[in-house]
Amino acid sequence: MSILTEGEARQLCERVIAAGTADEMLVRVESGLDGNTRFAVNQLTTAGEVEDTEVTVTARFGRRAASVRFNALERTGIAAAVRKAEQLAGLAPEDQEQMPLLGEQLYQTVPAFFDSTRDLDSTSRAIVVKTAADAAESAGLVGTGFLPRVARITAVANSNGLFAYQRSTLASFTTTVRTRGGDGSGWAGTTHNDWVRMTPPAELAERAGRKALQSVQAVTVQPAPYTVVLEPTAVGNLIRLLANGLGARAADEGRSAFSRPGGGNRMGDRILDERLTLYSDPQDPDLLERPFTDEGEPVGRTVWFENGVLKNLAYSRYWAERQQAQSVPLGGGLKLEGGSGTALDLVAGVESGILVTRFWYIRGVDPRTMVYTGLTRDGTYLIENGQVTRAVKNLRFNQSIVEMLDKIDAIGEAERVVASESGGLGGAVVVPPIVVRDFNFTSNSDAV
C-alpha cells in the first residue's frame, strides 16, 4: 500500500462530503502503515504490519452534530456511514457550545515524512532487533524491547472549503535490559520522525545493559525529599502531564492548578523557575508535529511558560469567544528549553542526591496542585560528591510537578525523548535533564 497523496486524500474527502445532505460536513482521514516488532528474553517475539484508512465524518444540522468513524470506503460504505452520522445528528439535541465550521485556512509546512522511516519494514526491523538481542545475549544479560514505526497521513476537510493535509513518519526504539539473576535492570530509548537521526539501537542496547549492571546490589535509602538529577526521559514522563493542566476553561471554572483563588486564571503569574520556557511549535525541527487540529484549526507556536511566567492557556474556540480571548489550540508537541550538558554533567554539580532514569505508573493524586505519584525504574543511583557511586532501590514519589518546576538547581541540554511509559509513538516531547531540590520520595519499592 502506498501512502495517500494530497490529491487522493482530497478526493476521498470530497467523495464523503458529496455523499451528505446535512447543513455542514466535516471529514477527517487517517491512513497509512503501522508496523512494530517486539523482542524479549533475547529473541524476537511478535511483529505486526497493518494497513488501514479510517474516515471520521461529522454531520451537522445547525447546532446538532454527530460523528461516525469507519473504514469501509467503497461507495456503499461511505453512503451508509454518512447516512448514520446524519441520522444521529438529526436526533441529537442542540449543542449551544457548537461553533461554526472554519473556512479555508493557511497552515505551516512541516517536513515530517522521511523515507528512511517509511522503509523500516518488518525485515529491517527484525535485523535491528536481532542486533540488540544478540548484544544482550553476548553480554550475559536479558534484553527486551520494542520498535514501532508509522508512515501516515492526516487530512481534514469540510463543506466550507477547508482542506488540510499532513504526511509524517515516526519511529521509536526502547529497550529494557536485565541481569540474568533479575537483580539489575536498565533502560534506554529514543524517538524521532527520521530513523536516520535516532541514536543507533546497538548503542541504546549497550547503554541499557550498562545501567543494568550498575543497578545490582542496590542499597535502600530512607524515603525523604532528595535532590534529584532527572534524566531527560524522566523529565519527559512528568512534563507531558503538565499539558493536562493547560486548559483555560478548567482554570477559569475554578478546577485546575492554574485557577486563581477568588476567580479567573493565573496567566501572567510567575509559577515556574525563571529559567524555564515551555512551548509548542509544529515547525520546530525537533518537534515536527501536525500543524492543524482535528477540526482543521491551524496550530502554530504557543509559548505556555516564558521565563517561568504562565503566558498562555489553551482556549477552545467556544471558550475563547465566551471569554473574549483568542482561540489557542493544544498541539504542536512540547519543548522545554534547555541549557548545556548531559545528565552526567549535571551529576558533577550535585553533592548528594539521586539520579533517576525514568518513572513508572504515574497517576494524579491531587488535581488542585498537580500532585502525582509514581515510581523510579530501570536505573536509580546514589550521587555522592558529584559522582554516581552505587545503585539504590526504587522509590515512590508524591510530588507536585508545578512545585517541582520551581525548585530547579540546574538545567542540561534538551533532547527528544520517549515520554510515554508505554514506549509508544506519542506527541513529540523535547526536554533537558534537570536537577531538582526536595523531590519528595515517600516509600521504598523492592521492584527491580
Binding site: R38, L44, T45, G48, D52, K84, V129, T144, R178, D366
Partner: protein, 487 residues
C-alpha cells in the same frame, strides 16, 4: 479459509485468521449539553502465521479473497524473516477443533437498538438531578457501548463466530468551593462496566443516584483531612476490585513472570514459577482467588479465546497459597512440569483486528468467605478504621510489590460505627504483606463485580476489558497517607 490455505501452502505450520467488526458508540454530556456523540465501526482481517517457530502477523481493512491470500503470504514471509531472530521456537499446546463454534454475550436488550433520544434523555436527566444539589457546579455523564463480532478460523480446524458486548454508563459531578479554594469530584464508581446490554444502564439508575453522588462531592469539600497512620481498612467491592486487578491479576500473568513484558508492563514478584507455584503464601487461608472466563456479566467472559481455546475457570490462589498462572497456548509448556496442566487456560485476546493476540487477563475474582458477613458486620467488628468506596488514583510498581491506592469516598470508623467523611486518603503497602493482613471477608451477600474497559499491556499497548468479583474485606493495620502532605 482462503487465507489459511494460502498460509499453509506458503509453508506455515500453523495459522489463524480473524475477521472482526468493531462497533463503538459513545454519548457524552456536560451539564445541559451533549458534548460527544459518535458511533464508530471498523472492520478488518488479520492473519497470524507460524513458520520455523516464529510468528508473523499482517492485517488490512480490505476484505476480499485476493487480499486474504496476499496477507497470508505476507504473514508467512514476515515470519520467515523473524525466525532469524528467534532462539527458542514457539510450541503450541494442542486444542480440540471447534468447526462450528458460536457464542454471544448473553444480553437482554441490544444497546444499539435503543433509541438515541432515550439515551440522551436519561443522561441529561441525571445531570439535572446532580445539579439540583446545592454546591454541585459541574457534571459530565456518558454511555459507552462496544460490540465485537469476530469470525476466527485456524488450521487446527476451528471456525468460531462470537459476538461480545460491553456497556458502561458513568457520571462525574464536581463541587467547587465558593471562594475557589478547593474543588472535589465524585464519580459513579459503584456502577461497573459490564459484559451486559442496555439492561445494565437501566439497572444503574443514574438519575436516581445522581443526587447522592452530588451530595458526596459537596461533602468532600468540608471532609476532615485524614491523619496519616496505620488503620484497619474496610474495602467496599467497588474499590477492592481494582486492588485485586493490580496486586493479583497482573502478578499472575505468566508472560510477565518470565520477563516477556519487562520493557513496559513489567515483570512479577511471583517468579521464578518453580519456586512459587504451590508454595507462595499469598494470604490467609480464607483467601481463595479464581481466574474465570465463564461468569455471566463479566467483561472477559467469552466462548473461546482468540486462538480457539474454550473458556476456562481455574484456581489462582487456593486457601491462601498461589497455585497457577494465566496462560495461552504457547505458554503451557513453560510451566506444565510444575503445574501438571497441559492445556491452555485460554487467555489469548486482541483488542481489535489490527492487533496481534497475546496473553491478557481473564476475570480474576476473590471468592466470598464462608461466614455470610455483609459490610456492616465488618464495620461493627472494627475499633479504628477507614471505609473506602470506589476507585481513585492507582499506582503500583513494575513487579507489583509497592502500591499506593486512593478511592472515591472515605469514612472514619470508630468503635464499630461509621463516622464522618475523610478526604485526601491513600494507602500504601507491599502486596504480600497487604494480602496476608486480610482478616475478615464478606460473604456471598456482599459480593459484587467491578471492572474496567482499559486494562493496558503490551507493545503496542492494547486495552483488555476485564472484571473482578469480590466481597467486602477488611485488612489490618495498613499504612495510610494524607495525599496533600509530604508524607
Amino acid at each position: 479459509m482462503v487465507a489459511l490455505d494460502a498460509a499453509s501452502t506458503a509453508g506455515a505450520s500453523y495459522a489463524d485468521a480473524r475477521v472482526m467488526r468493531v462497533r463503538d458508540q459513545r454519548i457524552g454530556t456536560r451539564e445541559e449539553q451533549v458534548s460527544d456523540l459518535r458511533d464508530d465501526e471498523t472492520i478488518g482481517i488479520a492473519v497470524r502465521a507460524l513458520v520455523g517457530g516464529a510468528w508473523g502477523f499482517v492485517a488490512s481493512r480490505t476484505l476480499n479473497r485476493a487480499e486474504a491470500v496476499r496477507l497470508a503470504r505476507a504473514a508467512v514471509e514476515q515470519a520467515r524473516g523473524n525466525a532469524a531472530a528467534v532462539r527458542v521456537p514457539v510450541q503450541l499446546a494442542p486444542v480440540d477443533p471447534y468447526p462450528n463454534g458460536e457464542w454471544s454475550t448473553p444480553i437482554r436488550i441490544d444497546p444499539f437498538a435503543v433509541s438515541l433520544e432515550e439515551k440522551v434523555d436519561l443522561l441529561l436527566a441525571a445531570n439535572a438531578a446532580a445539579l439540583g444539589v446545592p454546591g454541585a457546579r459541574f457534571v459530565t455523564s456518558s454511555m459507552a457501548f462496544v460490540r465485537l463480532q469476530t469470525t476466527m478460523a485456524s488450521t487446527d480446524g476451528s471456525v468460531i463466530q462470537q459476538t461480545l458486548y460491553r456497556t458502561w454508563p458513568t457520571l462525574t459531578v464536581t463541587a467547587v468551593a465558593p471562594d475557589y479554594s478547593d474543588f472535589q469530584s465524585r464519580t459513579s464508581a459503584e456502577v461497573a462496566p459490564m459484559g451486559l446490554g442496555y439492561e445494565h444502564v437501566q439497572a444503574a439508575r443514574l438519575r436516581e443516584r445522581a443526587p447522592e453522588w452530588a451530595e458526596e462531592a459537596v461533602q468532600k469539600l468540608s471532609a476532615t483531612p485524614v491523619e496519616p497512620g496505620d488503620y484497619d481498612l474496610i474495602l467496599d467491592p467497588s474499590h477492592l476490585f481494582l486492588t485485586i486487578h493490580e496486586s493479583i491479576g497482573h502478578p499472575t500473568e505468566l508472560d510477565r513472570a518470565l520477563g516477556f513484558e519487562a520493557n513496559y508492563a513489567g515483570t512479577s514478584f511471583l517468579a521464578p514459577p518453580e519456586q512459587v507455584l504451590g508454595s507462595f503464601q499469598y494470604g490467609p487461608e480464607i483467601m481463595n482467588v479464581i481466574a474465570d472466563r465463564t461468569q455471566r456479566g463479566a467483561l472477559a467472559t467469552v466462548g473461546w479465546d482468540d486462538e480457539g481455546v474454550p473458556a476456562d475457570s481455574w484456581p489462582i490462589v487456593r486457601d491462601g497459597v498461589f497455585v497457577d498462572y494465566q496462560t495461552t497456548r504457547e505458554q503451557v509448556h513453560w510451566i506444565s512440569a510444575h503445574t501438571g496442566v497441559n492445556h491452555s487456560h485460554g487467555c489469548s485476546f486482541a483488542q481489535s483486528w489490527d492487533r496481534v493476540q497475546f496473553q491478557r487477563m481473564p476475570n480474576i475474582s476473590l471468592l466470598p468467605g464462608e461466614d455470610d458477613y455483609v459490610i456492616d458486620d465488618l464495620i461493627a467488628a472494627t475499633e479504628r478504621g477507614i471505609l473506602i468506596k470506589g476507585r481513585g488514583s492507582y499506582s503500583i510498581d513494575q513487579q507489583r510489590f509497592n502500591f499506593q491506592f486512593g478511592g472515591q469516598v472515605f469514612y472514619e470508623i470508630r468503635n464499630g460505627v461509621v463516622g464522618g467523611m475523610l478526604k485526601d486518603v491513600a494507602y500504601q503497602g507491599r502486596t504480600p504483606e497487604f494480602w496476608n493482613s486480610l482478616d475478615m471477608l464478606g460473604g456471598t451477600r456482599s459480593y459484587e463485580l467491578g471492572g474496567t474497559f482499559y486494562d493496558g499491556k503490551g507493545q503496542p499497548a492494547q486495552s483488555n476489558p476485564v472484571s473482578h468479583g469480590c466481597p467486602a474485606a477488611r485488612f489490618g493495620n495498613v499504612s495510610v497517607i494524607n495525599t496533600t502532605s509530604r508524607g
